[in-house]
């Protein structure tokens, strides 16, 4: 079975492009109703591990005051990319930033947990509003999940391209061991967001086709290189394929830039990542030569969790029990996956996994999927 977000292309090409327009209208409408005058500071709770709220709208060209309060139990490192430096906030402490956004979006990122989806968005997107008060409304908070997730998505895509470049460099340098190691770590970024590649024509099959999915003379991408590195044990002759992989990933990054996401797209992606883990990885069909299926599986679930995490502030208000249940299920999965590592932290290779361990992994992922699918009913 292949990757699993069939709904993705339809949704993204249809309604999603209207998303940013609509949210801006909603936000500015709300702002117009708020009291004009001096800037009312807005406080953002920094929790373990999400921002609440994670979408803030602020009039461009006007100063705004944003206070981050660490309401969690661990330190966080907060940054509004392009507006502030990284700032450490200890539990119970706060930090206030006075910023003047332009007419664009800014990513709010936790440097420690951003890779797990702890991201938010500051939208400098209501040029006509009178007040300079940044606003957030619980009723529209869920609409912001698409934008918050996009921040994460682009960050992951940037790291993916960068990692793929080092992978290609290692192949060009003829360093087999280094190339093998970088194959695994580059897959880590890819597998956190893999289903999005579906949205762009043949990109997914160029990047991730497995042997015999395509005629041999058309087969490119990760798995062709995987076969060369593990079966042939050679880097020579692969330089062109490696360059093409980097170019294709750059194309993916560029395509993602211009895509807007609806909340249901993000939820779908969260489910689809779980499905990829449950099908190709759990069956050992992904990395047939490197046998690093479990590493990919764990990246899929991490990506699923990151996509889910952008719903956390919304669920905290609307259905905290569901938030707690899903969070607990992800935690349980991670506890199980963490028992399946070598002493150096690398995940066990697929052939080393016992049927009992595969069973545990399957059960843990299926247990996430059921409550995760119920988030959909909260979005209506």
């Amino acid at each position: 079975m292949r990757s699993a977000v069939a709904l993705w292309p339809l949704k993204m090409y249809s309604a999603a492009s209207m998303f940013f327009l609509s949210i801006v209208i909603i936000m500015s409408g709300l702002s117009a109703c708020s009291p004009a005058g001096a800037a009312t500071p807005i406080t953002i709770s920094v929790r373990d591990n999400y921002f609440d709220p994670n979408i803030i709208t602020s009039a461009p060209g006007k100063a705004a005051s944003l206070t981050f309060h660490n309401a969690g139990a661990v330190p966080h490192v907060v940054q509004i990319v392009g507006l502030t430096d990284q700032t450490v906030i200890q539990p119970g402490q706060s930090a206030t930033f006075r910023v003047t956004p332009q007419t664009r979006q800014y990513a709010i990122v936790d440097a420690l947990y951003g890779a797990d989806g702890m991201v938010g968005t500051l939208i400098g997107g209501a040029p006509d509003q009178q007040a300079s008060t940044p606003t957030v409304s619980p009723s529209v908070a869920v609409q912001g999940t698409g934008a918050a997730y996009k921040t994460y998505l682009l960050d992951q895509a940037d790291q993916l391209v960068a990692s793929a470049q080092t992978f290609a460099d290692a192949i060009a340098a003829g360093d087999l061991a280094q190339a093998q190691a970088l194959y695994v770590s580059t897959r880590h970024y890819y597998e956190r967001i893999a289903p999005v590649a579906r949205s762009f024509g043949t990109l997914e099959s160029r990047l991730n086709a497995r042997e015999r999915d395509l005629p041999d003379d058309q087969w490119t991408g990760f798995h062709r290189l995987e076969k060369a590195l593990w079966v042939d044990g050679a880097t020579s002759g692969q330089e062109g394929l490696a360059r093409q992989l980097v170019a294709d990933l750059r194309e993916l990054r560029a395509d993602l830039e211009v895509h807007a996401l609806l909340p249901t797209d993000v939820l779908d992606l969260s489910v689809a990542l779980l499905d990829q883990a449950l099908t190709t990885k759990l069956n050992g069909q992904e990395d047939r030569y490197a046998r690093t299926d479990l590493a990919d599986l764990s990246s899929n679930v991490a990506g699923s969790r990151a996509a889910f995490t952008v719903f956390a502030p919304f669920l905290q208000r609307t259905n905290p029990a569901l938030l707690a249940e899903i969070t607990d299920r992800y935690d349980r999965f991670e506890n199980i996956a963490n028992t399946l590592r070598e002493p150096d932290g690398a995940y066990l290779l697929y052939p080393a996994l016992t049927p009992g361990q595969l069973h545990q992994l399957s059960d843990a992922m299926i247990a996430i999927g059921e409550p995760l699918s119920r988030v959909a009913s909260q979005l209506k």
């Binding site: 292949r2 339809l10 779908d268 759990l282 595969l358 999927g369 059921e370 995760l372």
Partner: protein, 424 residues
């Protein structure tokens, strides 16, 4: 009656429980009465005729499918087996036990000499249950490992191809191929099982079971009189299936005709079986919107997306206000109707074989059976398109595969496939 509580006595007694109190005081000499119970009720179909039964017969509720491998290398054995099987099939379809029946034959008073009954007996007291038995010949009957075991290689129909590999195939050799097949369908699972079991027993020494598949719910309607059933995904699938009432379409798409090469297959057809496992756990937590998008139909009504009723025609050209196709490009319904050109007669069943012991997930899905005039122009291009593009592939995998030539029906007094041997 001293032996009543010996192992044999208990077993025979148990077998007759369905017969009420017939054994009480009557000893074992109740054969005629037991056999009469067989055909007491239940609709039955004739075995003999122009076409084999179980093809355009309105789909029954249950399936037991079996693939056999021959262990003899004599063509005369093969002919003998087909005759024995045909006779038995005709008898069982009529709701009667085979051979001398299910009751023991007495030899004087010495019960120790009683041989096992010729019919295994588990269908005693059950109706015919619309049982049909359909036979097919696999490619290996004609040529196996380069060997023409029965001198039949020259008579292999061109349409009986070795199915090509399809993208995404995850075939388990334990569910593939076979020299012969038996498709037993009935409204009662025990009747279907009984049929396969007794045919396997009759074949002992000549043919052995290669693999079998139980199906518990029909997934196709093959007659206008039948409502479209739901598959394990909860969707109506096969709404646009050929219906047996459409005689002209049957001639065009199902039955091998006069122009189709070998005369021994005229009025026969080709059966393709695919064991398709569904990732039910994954399907279950996907959004309804995604499910409907994948299938191309509304879940509850079965209507094609953009339509109101199940039998509304699928409008492949329809678009929403943004210009997107209402029936998505990769949806199953769009691809499965082959843009309207390819038609097959689907006659599949839902199955479950318990759990996948590695992962604890359901081992369940669709046992797909389709009949057609020529798989080269029907199943193969259809499946090639589905395997490449169908959004449903994210949720299914093909784990078994087989193809069989189903000869025409047997004439009364003859046997299935008789003409194959006509000039040998």
């Amino acid at each position: 009656m001293k032996k009543k509580f010996t192992r044999r006595g208990v077993l025979l007694g148990a077998g007759a429980v369905g017969a009420g109190a017939l054994l009480a005081g009557g000893g074992f000499a109740a054969r005629a009465s037991l056999d009469e119970l067989y055909s007491a009720s239940g609709q039955s179909y004739p075995f003999y005729g122009q076409h084999q039964p179980g093809i355009i017969t309105p789909a029954q509720d249950r399936l037991h499918f079996a693939a056999f491998d021959l262990v003899t290398e004599r063509a005369s054995d093969l002919q003998a087996l087909l005759r024995i099987w045909s006779d038995a099939a005709a008898t069982m379809m009529a709701g009667r036990p085979i051979g001398a029946g299910a009751a023991p034959v007495l030899y004087g008073d010495n019960t120790a000499t009683i041989p096992p009954s010729s019919d295994t007996g588990e269908a005693l007291g059950l109706p015919a249950a619309r049982l049909t038995i359909t036979f097919g010949f696999g490619p290996t009957l004609f040529l196996k490992d380069g060997k023409d075991r029965f001198g039949l290689a020259a008579r292999r129909p061109e349409a009986l191809i070795d199915l090509p590999p399809f993208p995404g195939d995850a075939l388990d050799p334990n569910y593939c191929g076979g020299d012969l097949c038996v498709q037993a369908c009935a409204d009662d699972p025990q009747v279907a099982f009984h049929a396969v079991r007794n045919l396997a027993r009759l074949a002992r020494g000549l043919a052995v079971l290669r693999w079998t598949q139980l199906g518990f719910g029909r997934t196709s309607s093959t007659s206008r009189s039948q409502e479209t059933p739901r598959n394990l995904m909860g969707f109506k699938d096969g709404t646009n299936n050929l219906k047996s009432e459409e005689t002209a379409l049957m001639e065009a798409h199902v039955w091998a005709g006069a122009g189709d090469q070998l005369s021994w297959m005229r009025s026969g057809t080709y059966l393709v079986a695919r064991r398709i496992r569904m990732a039910l756990e994954v399907w279950d937590h996907n959004l309804l919107e995604e499910q409907e998008w994948v299938i191309g139909r509304e879940k509850v009504s079965g209507a094609p997306l953009g339509k109101k009723q199940e039998f509304d025609l699928v409008d492949l050209a329809a678009r929403d206000e943004k210009g997107n196709p209402l029936v998505p490009a990769r949806s199953h319904v769009r691809l499965a109707i082959g843009e309207g050109k390819i038609k097959i007669l689907r006659r599949g069943y839902s199955f479950t074989d318990g759990t996948d012991m590695r992962t604890g997930q359901f081992d369940a899905g669709l046992f797909f059976i389709a009949f057609q005039r020529d798989p080269r122009t029907q199943f193969v291009p259809l499946q090639m398109s589905l395997a490449q593009h169908d959004a449903l592939n994210d949720y299914i995998s093909h784990t078994g595969s087989a193809i069989f030539a189903c000869p025409p029906g047997a004439r009364e007094g003859g046997f299935v496939g008789e003409e194959l041997f006509a000039s040998i």
